[in-house]
Symmetry: D2
Subunit: 346 residues, 4 copies
């Protein structure tokens, strides 16, 4: 079986294993205060053109989400999220376990708009009994979304403007950031992302690292004492250097971007192949996740050789599934998949 | 500078890096459901002679502590811990952040006794207003303790008997378990540990792994739905195999035990060298942590070449410091330290 | 202005003030362990024909909801609630602040069905990645609902059957229980309520008391150590007798039921008066809350003399409002309202 | 039996029952937004000479403590408290249930000093690994303390100065404030209290009210959105007027102070009577709580007629007990107690 069900089925870019081997017997201080981490932080700040940002390395996405959100919100505040947001449905109530409600906004495609946020806030503050409801304190979005889509620069600007007007922090979950930045139609640079939110992270786990996410905090109001939060929530790695080494390796020479670019190109090959068979898609994704809508026969045919991720049942008996490419996807795997798509039942 | 301040200054046993390289492009399912994890679990259950135990791999000690404790306690319960316990003072209130009070018991050497636990419970349940105080629901100890000491088998048996009588879970933090088991005077096997508590963990971070702790749950009452807790608390690694590979490597052929044994032997060399100079110790540790009490001059002399961990000021102007050895400590480093100890000011 | 916007605009049934006066200088022990509380508990258990139930008195509805729910759920569990449930939208995230997600089920009229609960559970347990989502652990409903409706005995039986099959606790918020029991079409007795759930409460605040709710726990699994939870959550009144005295007064001779019956009869007078004017209703409520849909002119006319509670805008420019009667509503107030309804703009 | 074990064995000052009766059928808006509450707030601000303070009425002491503390602290912060503080040992971990550690300072008599706070902070911030420990964010003291003692104005000034230097909020639990202010040796006015902390409360439950505490927030940083917190924590009374009516009655004409004064005078009669018998005291209290150290025979003799509160065993077989007077203590009760003290075994 060839795995296409997610983007974390392999280990890591081999350069990372080499770097871990080379550095293995260096003695360093713990908890992220070593030189590897320091260098990785500088590289990230340079990439973001954000010299005053603070950068912290966490072990995974849920960890990063809950630590950032719990750090930013007051007890009576919640976080606005698209109803499809990872924090809303796939983290076992991690945010609620920190005491905060996830306030969901409806969405068809996984994105939310500045207008939705503004309307939510307007309604909240217009309510004379607003203290009986959770106050919105932050907006959480993903770039790309769970559905593979990206926000345009203008959409981000509008969202961030509303957030600032309404005293909301804007947090961008970048678990797949590399794949979003690599999309052809993307008009946001890493620098833009950094400038258009208060905090975001550069996802490593799904884009070439063994594990780890680099949280970049640009808003000084969120920077103070963040390390206490990391420790309290169990995300402070004793050998923090493991994360520094990985991000230094991925980012010092553009490896992060090149592997993401290749994965997106492969995903678009898959997309075109399905389209050539007249297949439609649940979301029109320009990134490494593709969501074709298949008949049961087509799915059964493909699942003989490939694992995919079931997404949702469609009304007509078809079902939408997810194919993911990643930094590790081999061209031969793509070739075999394209071949099968061509031969699958009509 | 040669680092002796803690046991996490290097990467990992080289065999682990090899195993990570060999497996790097294997495709596996995520979240600990892969074959590497399955095999590692079987090895651990065999070592523990606990076929019905459940084994989960978490990323670090604080993560393991908070997940286990939050999983076991009811809202109104707290966890009894020696006042020197890691959860009591070095985890930024991680347990309290999960809603539970750490109920500290006084200790001179880092250990607590069955009698202390019994007396605490007796007083609690004798109090007519006991619902105004936190109910003890679990006992937390470390093996070895923060102070390097180990419990005897009889001490553990007595503690566990009280725990069962008082309906308390017994949880053993084994962040340095390997070093405890390797102590000459130790009379507990891994099997004994597993039999004399409800849940414990085999520490990887400090004993040869890059990171990771293997939580072994022997009490069925604590097994149900533990994976929900791991996910909620942010400890579920997407590429769970990273932990399976590490523990399989460490445990399949006894590597874990041999590296721990070597580190303990090195620590005892340090201990004997200090003793030969008439130095006394804060704790009489038989494991990889040694706590000599030094004059300022002695410390200044040693700190020219070695980093150590400050522990506490002593009344006579001296101070107690910690020297740690680990799986990575080189014999040359020990030789240089022994040499310096011999030459340090009297 | 005459207030109809809610059912807590006055103090309490005068009999309660008399009882407080009579007992004022009696010396009693604190925290609900006095004879007034003991007698009130016995009366409630007799009314419920539930001799093994435990009864606790709490100060208010949000307090009761959060204490019961936090007491019943494990850390990774959430509570299923209609999306209109009080805990879902009007308690400032009180449940989330205790660490638990409110899992909302869609509803048109404020009620949920056994089938909805069953389907939710079926989907949860069918999901191979279920540990990435919150596990349902309890079902919360209100009797009557926020929308004034009541469940039939059969509906409750079906719900409770599903709950038992799915290992969910069933919790009935009875903040307005008296008004529900007093509805003409109601076929549930207090005894039925007690038999068809695990825990519920008899609302005092809105049905004749100064304040206070009597939580009745019939399921022994929820009884243990509940007083610890009350204390921890700040709901244990030092002078617990205040609640015992109130519930004894309300329940010993049926005062609770007679005042509720009167209020419901008054509400139905209002309902008939609006119907006579061709007014339709948002919900077809048989209890003390009525939700007519009025034009702006009609509302403006009525608001000159009466305060009402805005409920929601309707598509055609009309709006739905709430009129509440209560134990304290005077017949003259009703007469004036009926008169105005008759004269309001068509 | 005559009760002396605590100061909440009776109902309330009869004037409160009268005021409740008079106002019973007034219709008011809910949740503390009524005129009774508004007037009570103005009276309190005038008494405190703090026109910009915000005043909120909560139902009880634990509720007030947890709401204020959870409102003030960041997730990674804890609250410094004397080890005898009510929050440290008598609230079932209510503060921890909100996520915060209670950081206890040792004390012999229930009081803590500015120097203790300064030293704690100095040590915390001097620790390079401080993010591994809980950051102090607030100081909690009681006036009078659990042990009946009061702080001098100078002691409060020193504490508050340290708090401001160290960016700690100072919170004074005034559950028995009236008895503290009434002590002969007290040199603090209500105005002084208000000026020498960031937030405090005027206890009603133990000083003449049925229940209720008036939280006075003088620091604007703590004022914002406090009502959200009250609602979330279950402390917002639907009929908020009940608290407004009580505090207006107690404070408009000095009733609060006169009943406290009487109770303190009665307590000093008890103190003198014991002293006349050569009895010593655990604490030298000038307020309504007295802690004589009695032999078993003396205690047994007194307990035939009076209930007292056991406090602690003393080394010599004696035990310390607590006698409380209150607003409700009758002169005849005192006379009988004095008589018995005189006749008790030597």
């Amino acid at each position: 079986m060839i795995h296409f069900e997610c983007d974390y089925t392999e280990g890591c870019c081999p350069q990372i294993l080499e770097a871990l081997s080379t550095s293995n017997f260096d003695q360093t201080t713990g908890y992220g205060n070593d030189d590897y981490c320091h260098r990785a932080r500088e590289i990230i700040k340079t990439l973001c053109k954000a010299p005053h940002a603070e950068v912290h390395f966490l072990t995974g996405g849920t960890q990063a989400n809950l630590t950032v959100i719990a750090s930013a919100l007051k007890s009576y505040q919640g976080v606005l999220s698209p109803e499809t947001g990872h924090i809303a449905g796939h983290e076992t109530g991690a945010i609620e376990a920190c005491g905060h409600k996830v306030l969901t906004l409806p969405t068809q495609d996984g994105k939310i708009t500045a207008l939705q946020v503004e309307n939510y806030c307007k309604a909240h503050y217009a309510d004379a009994s607003r203290e009986h409801t959770v106050q919105p304190g932050m907006v959480y979005i993903s770039f790309p979304t769970e559905t593979g889509l990206i926000y345009t620069k203008q959409e981000l600007q509008e969202l961030y403007t509303v957030c600032k007007n309404r005293e909301l922090f804007l947090f961008i979950d970048g678990a797949r950031l590399g794949y979003g930045l690599a999309a052809e139609e993307n008009d946001c640079s890493m620098e833009d992302i950094a400038a258009l939110c208060d905090v975001f992270y550069i996802g490593g786990t799904k884009v070439g690292a063994l594990f780890g996410e680099a949280v970049v905090i640009t808003n000084p109001a969120l920077q103070k004492d963040f390390r206490y939060m990391i420790k309290q929530k169990g995300g402070m790695l004793a050998k923090g250097r493991l994360l520094g080494i990985q991000f230094e390796t991925l980012l010092k020479d553009g490896l992060y971007f090149s592997v993401a670019k290749k994965a997106v190109a492969q995903a678009l090959q898959i997309k075109r192949a399905f389209k050539a068979q007249g297949i439609s898609f649940l979301f029109d994704s320009p990134t490494n996740q593709q969501f074709p809508i298949l008949t049961k026969e087509q799915l059964a045919y493909l699942e003989k050789e490939f694992t995919v991720n079931f997404w949702q049942h469609m009304e007509d008996g078809k079902c939408a599934v997810r194919f993911c490419t990643s930094w590790a996807t081999k061209d031969e795997a793509i070739a075999r998949l394209l071949n099968s798509i061509e031969r699958m039942p009509k």
